[in-house]
Symmetry: C2
Amino acid sequence: MAQMLADRRDVDFILHGQLKVEQLSAHKAFGDFNKKTIDLIVSEARALSLKELLPAHGIGDRVGVRYQDNNVFVPPEFHGIYEKLSNGQWIAPSDDARWGGQELPLVVTQAAYNYLFAANYPACAYATLTHGAGKLVEVFGTDKQKNLYLKKMYSGQWSGTMLLTEPEAGSDVGALTTMAEKNEDGTYSLTGNKIFITAGEHDMTENIIHPVLARIKGAPEGARGISLFLVPKYHVNADGSLGERNDIFCIGVEKKMGIHGSATCSMTLGTSGQCIGTLLGEENKGMAAMFVMMNEARLGVGMQGFGCASASYLNALNYARLRIQGRSIVADPKETNGVSIIQHPDVRQMLMTMKVYTEGMRSLLYYTAFLEDLAKISDAPEEKERLHDMIDILIPIAKGYVTDRSFDVCNLGIQVFGGYGYTCEFPQEQLLRDCRITQIYEGTNGIQAMDLLGRKLSMKNGKLFKELMSEIKREIGAAASIVSLQALSAELATAIDMLDEVTGFLFKNAVADASKGAAYAHATLYMEALGDVIMAWMLLWRARAASQALDAGAIKQDILFYEGQIQGVRFFIKRFLPVITGKLFAIKNLDSAPVMMNDKSFGV
Amino acid sequence: MAQMLADRRDVDFILHGQLKVEQLSAHKAFGDFNKKTIDLIVSEARALSLKELLPAHGIGDRVGVRYQDNNVFVPPEFHGIYEKLSNGQWIAPSDDARWGGQELPLVVTQAAYNYLFAANYPACAYATLTHGAGKLVEVFGTDKQKNLYLKKMYSGQWSGTMLLTEPEAGSDVGALTTMAEKNEDGTYSLTGNKIFITAGEHDMTENIIHPVLARIKGAPEGARGISLFLVPKYHVNADGSLGERNDIFCIGVEKKMGIHGSATCSMTLGTSGQCIGTLLGEENKGMAAMFVMMNEARLGVGMQGFGCASASYLNALNYARLRIQGRSIVADPKETNGVSIIQHPDVRQMLMTMKVYTEGMRSLLYYTAFLEDLAKISDAPEEKERLHDMIDILIPIAKGYVTDRSFDVCNLGIQVFGGYGYTCEFPQEQLLRDCRITQIYEGTNGIQAMDLLGRKLSMKNGKLFKELMSEIKREIGAAASIVSLQALSAELATAIDMLDEVTGFLFKNAVADASKGAAYAHATLYMEALGDVIMAWMLLWRARAASQALDAGAIKQDILFYEGQIQGVRFFIKRFLPVITGKLFAIKNLDSAPVMMNDKSFGV
């Protein structure tokens, strides 16, 4: 299975054929990253994934984490992985070199993380949480906080977490009750309980740095009264050495459907009244700080879910080529020899569905990261703003839609294996179980849909959506000039017009008191429809790039790959576009039954 | 959670309001089963499910089965369950009283099994496999075989299995290689290996009776050369006492995604050349015998998957009512109190989706069983044939479509719980894992879709489909006479016309050599569309029955239930019918990309 985890040709095609990321190297910020260097980095991530991370994927699931007396023990193999990720400088690959980052373009980091997550994202969680916590310190920390913590976090010497959720404050963060009281020395004493804390405790690093959301005594209720604190497991002396144990402890780990190797901890703060932290950023600005991190975090979760899909597809493809079962329905009835199941039309349509979603989602995730890179190097404020707008509207799709579809891909990935797919002998069922949480954490996909409808569509009077539409239309225009894509482009253009109309209709209803409830009951369906259209856009873009490569005279071994791109968009348009249109019609119906119905009519 | 597992009011509504099953009691075969008796039986199943089966659901998952030296040990609690199912005569509730059956209408057995499966279908598998094996003995056994085995199987004293799958013969049963050689005394010596054998070995009964598919030496290749044999774990003496141990052994159990309490065994036959069995039925007619059992077996699997959905929906509904989180988006913005999450439109649309599928599928499964009852008591050969035709065309939907949608319902059932749904603290994630196998075993859902397109549509020159259409149209006509359902009926009528046209189109392409592959690549999509239409039919029927009950003056506590039926069909028609139409358009596109594409274009 030479191409397991992620199809390298597809990864390279997106980087160089679709996005042409080498253009970044024209700017001094990315001057070092020519095509050769980028390819080397991807190769390194791929090798690390195959050699170190993948072999521990099933082990992490079977062994899981063990909790004992406030300690959490991860599978032994995870120690080596964390060390490799640290030493390979994979914790902060795109961050500031001053603090140990590598300043890679984010799009290259995405490609690298495609491999790492496809191999074993539960094992990577310890590193990615560390990065997220470090980023908070980088953006909101004082010089002192940065000097004390940041390099040791970005290098992996100390790990990080994010203490947000409480038993009664999940989607509604504003309901949290963890309290902070200011001490005379300017530090804060925290008391409270947090749950679902990934990597909250483990035995891989000498210290763990916890950003904690809490409410300062006397602060307003709700989200407006939340502040962010930095609470280390061990206090850190001025010289950087470890001090006393802080009063923050893990009191248990969750038993879960999947990601068994990722410790999901219940944490208690200040049971002895001695949990001391420092303010990170400003008082009562904790939620705002969270929002700054949200795009990165949600894009990361999208990639986690997608990593599972990426691996599941290639496993299924490989299995379908090797597994002999049944005769071909199109062969001579007298033929008695079995064929590999990839010959069966029903298996092929499953694989084709997996292929188009996998490729479309990969393009979208890389593209969203690429937009960040473009924004970073852009000197034109308007263009910078446009790029950030694009990112903002794409994020709920990159998280919500992508993890939903990744789950579907993983599910087909089981089905292609038949009964074997249900056994633990193959990775398919674990990939589905691991994938499932990505639809929930970092804002459930329902929250993503509401973010799209309630925030993103309304920002700047609908400018974000308009910018997205004109990007898609630009691609439709470009693809229409290619004979083999003309008719397909026209079909997509029709759908786009309808999407445009339905978006206006739904938004109008979402801001009117009388229809608000019914509109929000269609938020998820809308996210699905918009996501589908974005898939069509990505696939059309890919097919155009492939057509152009074919016209330019592709080498023999690439021709079938490029042809697969043209078949892919055709399949998507012919098979899924009518269904998307159906979803748009359903939104236009704006049925209010779910919101109007009496609660008791659901069942008594 | 008084209504957990299955909403009793809905169960009663289908039995008495929709299907009016009491009409069966007019016939002497079911003379004992008036409304009161039926309700008592359902109550008994419900009580047994809540008291005995449900408490062992999580235990079965955590403890699983243990294999050691050819023995399999099930969780201790399963012993009590098997005993209760045996003593309560739940193994053969609808079978011939001569052999220990209870001769209940099958529709009542369905209602009972709705509860049993919703509580713990993996624990029930030992009983249901026993019934299936017993049925083979009843239908194909000689008097001697029946006298030796049958009563002890239907009473649960001995259990049963079905040895069909082999490592290289899964969906393609005809490829099996287990051999049988006739001995001088008329018995057969079997040699071979079987896998994925549910209940193949366990420690709950003194004997296990294995029907085995094998090929008699010299028999034709493929499906035409397969015979069925009866192979007991312990030989049975003429007086019914146990004799020698037979040479059939379990050599391992699968580790699986779910149904951990259900033993999935690898079996080896004749390693010492001493596996002796008797022919069951005629030589080379083993596949035909399987087909006789298939409708019952597939309907049973549909109910297994549905049982998970049935429980998951009520758990989610209950959780959504109790869980306080977030403010209402339609409330005064100054309101700071949290609301139960059932107040959130996105949660409501999830619950509504779960509700309509759960209710529609429950109706379909009960109805399909009811058709069997009607056929049993019908004296008119034409009507009998029509009823069997209806069953034949509904079976792929009742198995394939129902388990697919049940999985979707279980998936929403996790999402409603948010992060908690991913933990093992709640049953939601286990229900999804348990449900997942039902899409695979007893013929994968791809096989169901091909059975629908390739066999059921072509049988009797399309008579089955025509009969189904006229049943649906009859309901549309009836519902159209009710004011509140008029417009909805008309919308469904339009979709039906399109379904009719697309069915003809797809079938025509499926029998033409040039388009066969492309047509079969749409078999699954077609099954989905037909299943959706059948859901709409069931929901319309239910809404009509509810409207009539309301008009007749329903008692207060029923009014909200009935109103929920009318809202339900409206929701389904407004929200899902446009998508169904989209799927039909997609079928009309009959894109051939998946079948035409070069294998290598899937990825290299």
